[in-house]
């Protein structure tokens, strides 16, 4: 208790105007910023994978399995920041046992379980089943057993069985797309449904979350593909890369338009909260919202991909431009989450003052744990790549 009191007394000095006395403590910090960021990556990566299957985008074939495994690796980590931020993580199972049906948050467990079990795992299983059986038949020792177990000891690779696999993947993908929309749209609803908070309360919130999720997911897969391919000493497929960047470009335009629409709507309606929000945006949020989220995270990447589309740019330069753009997009989307979660708590619900957020380094809510949580999915991804190699040449023929 001492610790928190010392922490809070250091914030008091930074409060401007009047805030309710209970509002000095900012309740949702860095961990709750990471949660929608990671969930967004999951949904985005999955939707990208679905494009290959549903719309038959052949160019993206090399990234299909990579994006599935990326979605899975990040999905494993998605509930951890939430769990770590609870006052009583040991009681978290109550969300499953006695969920309050009117609570958006209570649905998390179910949406998550549905997405993990019914969508991602199933699709990956069907897609890898044939390969798993063939790999297992050729391998020895522990790898043989790992692959056998993952294939649930199925053995049938007859024509009709493979046909069934293909059909199943289609069905799962068709269920999967609305599920991915649900997963992240719902995360947006957690914030968008809070009428007490004018910064959050918006019908657009789930949609903005969704499109920014797709943006971040595509950018992440692009980054992973660009890093992993040279590491494997293989050539980057420029057609695939161009297509990825092209999709990234279009979704970013939608995302950008939605955000601008939200901005125009707010300033045009100019409700009671407009003064304090204007103060927030031009002050404490200026750097993270206008400079990082808007300029660095959207306008510069959009501009550079547009330049590639209009001018003939040699492949090498194109590659580095894509890479930088995707990296900036990641920074931008992370800041977007920050601006929603932390930004929404910086102003008082009395609309008369602003408080501050001070990040700590150690402790569960600190920077160190958060960095760990952001690196953990990459470790999972490495393991998944080892167990289920997603490369085209690893496919058993």
């Amino acid at each position: 208790m001492e610790e928190i009191v010392i922490h809070l007394s250091s914030i008091v000095k930074e409060v401007t105007g009047y805030i309710y006395p209970n509002e000095i403590e900012l309740h949702w910090g860095l961990l709750v910023v990471i949660y929608p960021y990671i969930t967004g990556l999951v949904a985005g990566a999955f939707i990208l994978a679905s494009l290959v299957k549903i719309f038959n985008v052949k160019e993206l074939q090399p990234t299909y399995r990579i994006s599935m495994l990326t979605a899975l690796a990040f999905l494993f980590v998605a509930p951890l920041p939430l769990l770590a931020h609870l006052g009583h993580p040991e009681k978290s199972f109550e969300i499953f046992l006695t969920p309050n049906s009117s609570s958006a948050m209570a649905m998390f467990g179910f949406v998550y379980a549905w997405y993990l079990m019914a969508v991602l795992l199933l699709e990956i299983w069907f897609d890898y089943r044939k390969d798993l059986i063939i790999w297992a038949s050729k391998e020895k020792g522990i790898r043989k057993w790992i692959h056998k177990i993952i294939s649930v000891f199925s053995k049938d690779i007859s024509e009709s069985a493979l046909k069934f696999d293909k059909k199943s993947i289609k069905v799962v993908t068709i269920i999967g797309i609305p599920s991915a929309f649900l997963l992240h749209g719902y995360v947006g609803f957690i914030f968008g449904s809070i009428k007490a908070n004018p910064w959050w309360s918006s019908v657009l919130m789930p949609i903005v979350f969704l499109f920014s999720a797709i943006v971040s997911g595509i950018a992440l897969v692009l980054l992973i593909y660009m890093v992993i391919t040279p590491l494997r000493k293989k050539e980057i497929d420029m057609k695939c890369l161009d297509k990825l960047a092209s999709y990234l470009f279009y979704v970013m335009i939608i995302d950008f338009s939605l955000e601008i629409l939200d901005f125009i709507h707010r300033s045009y309606e100019a409700e009671e909260s407009i003064k304090i929000i204007a103060e927030l945006v031009s002050g404490k949020l200026f750097v993270s919202l206008i400079v990082i989220q808007l300029l660095i995270g959207i306008i510069i990447p959009l501009g550079s991909i547009a330049a590639i589309k209009f001018f003939k740019i040699p492949a090498e330069l194109r590659k580095s431009m894509y890479f930088v753009a995707a990296l900036l997009v990641q920074v931008g989307i992370f800041t977007t989450r920050w601006n929603v979660v932390v930004g929404g708590q910086l102003f008082s619900k009395s609309f008369r003052g602003l408080t501050a957020y001070k990040m700590t380094f150690f402790g569960l809510e600190g920077l160190l744990v958060s960095i760990g949580l952001l690196l953990l999915p990459l470790l999972f991804l490495y393991l998944l790549f080892k167990i289920l190699p997603p490369w085209e040449e690893s496919r058993a023929t």
């Binding site: 208790m1 928190i4 009191v5 809070l8 008091v12 009047y18 805030i19 309710y20 006395p21 209970n22 509002e23 000095i24 403590e25 309740h27 949702w28 939430l82 931020h85 609870l86 006052g87 009583h88 993580p89 009681k91 978290s92 109550e94 969300i95 006695t98 969920p99 309050n100 009117s102 609570s103 958006a104 948050m105 209570a106 998390f108 957690i190 449904s193 809070i194 009428k195 007490a196 908070n197 708590q345 008082s348 619900k349 009395s350 609309f351 008369r352």
Partner: protein, 264 residues
Amino acid sequence: MKELKTNTENNIQRRKFIRNILFSATALFFPKFIGAESVGKIKDWVLFGDYNAKDHLWGMGINIDKCIGCGRCVNACKVENNVPKVPYYFRTWVERYRIFKEKETIVDSPNGAINGFKPQPESDGNLIRSFFVPKLCNQCDNPPCVQVCPVGATFRTEDGVVLVDKEYCIGCRYCIQGCPYGARYLDPKTLTAEKCTFCYHRIVEGLSPACVEACPTQARIFGEVKKKASPLMRFMRKHAIGVLKPSLNTEPKVFYANMDMEVR
């Protein structure tokens, strides 16, 4: 006072325990003889004793003109409910509004006004008026905090009070985000959400909340919302009444008399 409180608490627990045993034993032996309706009645009696929650609907009136900003209510609340003494946790607090002719309204509440306010000499002479506004949980009839709680740890009782079950609360703080009035905090010791309970342990014993008891000017009026003869209803008949943030449709049961438009 503290000792007395724990004693009564023990008594209540013991009584409740014995009743519960009796009730469950009866139910075990005569499951078919007790109809659903009488089961409900027995349950009420078991849970509340002589106090029947269904017969009440509690609310509070606040007479802004009468509040002198002494902060006795804030102190009484902290003592009665074991609220941390540091200035970041309040179940009730008092705000001072100063409305000027030419500059923006100034609101303050130093340490929740637990020690009252220091007089502010008005130098430039354009102060129009100044007044104090006690704040607390509005015990909404349509409470957003109850709506968002993922496990149902916070709930509205039949007599209209919003409570938190700290055995159940997982400390996700969604309710704190959902409350438009800043009436909730996370208890730094238990790491669960806390708020004003209208001193529920007192009202079921027929007493009034500690803040009401401590107020020297009777600026706070506690009582029934739906009984014509209650002091609260009389108060509401005699004054022009407003509630905080009516546009959010939370239907508060804390009613302010003669409230200025600057109050929010």
